[in-house]
């Protein structure tokens, strides 16, 4: 079967499935669907759209040039994000690099939360597939600061229920069950290397920062915006937990 048709079919089947409450785990039927989708991740279409969008800026070669690395070294370089980039004087995620590149190429930068940006981010990160995450949180003071801010943001109790990320993702509760959902170990689970991912319960592609926002919303923490220092810090902190694990984009999540 033609790949696109297969994908379209699995999306159709998926959207006809009534997933229960987000809080409930997979049924056997959902699990079978998950196995099927591992071969046909609907987010493969996202990657393809992202590839087309990046081609307007010279594709991977253009990106490598923009970042000042050889095309051959690009995957390894991508596997080290978020990074401090001197030219921007900021620790940035790949999506923010794309914004700067769009601007410098005479295009209006896409918003971080736009669907097209998610597509480009998914494609760009997939260029590093199979490369181990090599983020260096001690590379410079800026990265040290970003990591520290990420850790602090992760550990800060706030919101309507006084919870922090740590309340549910600390080593002593990992594996316990929250309303039938086992609490994942963000390092062992390779969260840093498996987002953007297709979320079956949402029937859409989400990025790591968007996933953070999901947990904030569910746990009644005020949702902080994509690209903020604190969000990038969280991404640095969480990505570092999966250091050495291979990048595998697009991920597929419950």
């Amino acid at each position: 079967m033609n790949k696109i048709i297969k994908i379209a079919l699995s999306v159709a089947v998926l959207s006809s499935l009534s997933f229960c409450d987000d809080q409930f785990s997979m049924s056997d039927k959902d699990r079978a669907m998950y196995a099927e989708m591992l071969d046909n991740n609907p987010a493969d279409m996202t990657v393809a759209s992202g590839e087309e969008l990046l081609s307007y800026m010279g594709g991977p070669a253009g990106l490598a040039k923009y970042l000042g690395v050889s095309e051959e070294k690009l995957p390894e370089y991508i596997a080290g994000f978020p990074r401090y980039i001197k030219k921007f004087d900021m620790v940035v995620g790949l999506d923010q690099v794309l914004q700067a590149m769009m601007h410098d190429g005479g295009h209006k930068p896409l918003e971080l939360k736009s669907g097209n940006m998610f597509e480009m981010l998914t494609y760009v990160k997939s260029l590093a597939n199979d490369v181990p995450i090599n983020i260096d949180v001690n590379a410079n003071q800026q990265m040290k600061d970003a990591y520290a801010l990420g850790e602090k943001t992760f550990n800060t109790k706030r919101g309507g229920r006084g919870l922090s990320c740590l309340s549910c993702h600390s080593p002593d509760v990992i594996g316990s069950v929250l309303r039938t959902q086992p609490l994942p170990d963000l390092g062992v689970n390779n969260s840093g290397g498996t987002w953007p991912a297709y979320r079956m319960t949402k029937s859409s592609v989400s990025t790591l920062q968007k996933r953070f926002q999901g947990c904030m919303k569910n746990a009644l923490l005020a949702v902080i915006p994509l690209g903020s220092k604190e969000m990038v810090g969280l991404e640095v902190f969480v990505t570092d937990k999966a250091k050495g694990k291979p990048i595998a984009i697009p991920g597929l999540k419950r």
Binding site: G62, K65, Y66, M90, D104, G162, I224, L226, E230
Partner: protein, 174 residues
Amino acid sequence: MVKNLSVSLLLGCSLFAADYSSIIEHPDASEIIKKDLLAPAKVYTMPAGCITTDAAAIARGDYIFHNLNGEKAKADAPAGLSKKNSNGSTKQFGNCVACHNIEGAKGAGNIGPDLHGYKQNFIDSGARTTQFVYQKIADARIDNPDTHMTINLTTKLFNEREICDIASYIVSPK
């Protein structure tokens, strides 16, 4: 090809680089977080008449324990409790069952201790007082600074009466 060229040309011009802080989205989140911070741990004393055998109060406590919020709750709210706040927004409930098993729980979690037989096992045995239960639900940090439990009175998620309803439900014979 032409695009590659223009990109590399621009890179060469980084001397005149724009101020990227106005190009790259990097909104400030510190104010949002500051306003959202949890107040310091607070000691609470149970108000008089807090723990009750009144069936209506226990029904409210039961409902708060087992539901996440007014939108997700399927059953009608019991007398004296509403699915909405006075301003029309969705009322949050305790979702205690996400972490605690208890009589009649559906899809209970196990992050917190199992509260089955709480009256016999914890209260009648003298292991816990009702004041302990009240404080635990109101602000669990007092006897456990590193608690993973939700904070329910210091955050103003619930008022005193609601904390009493929940505590009454937990210590009621089931």
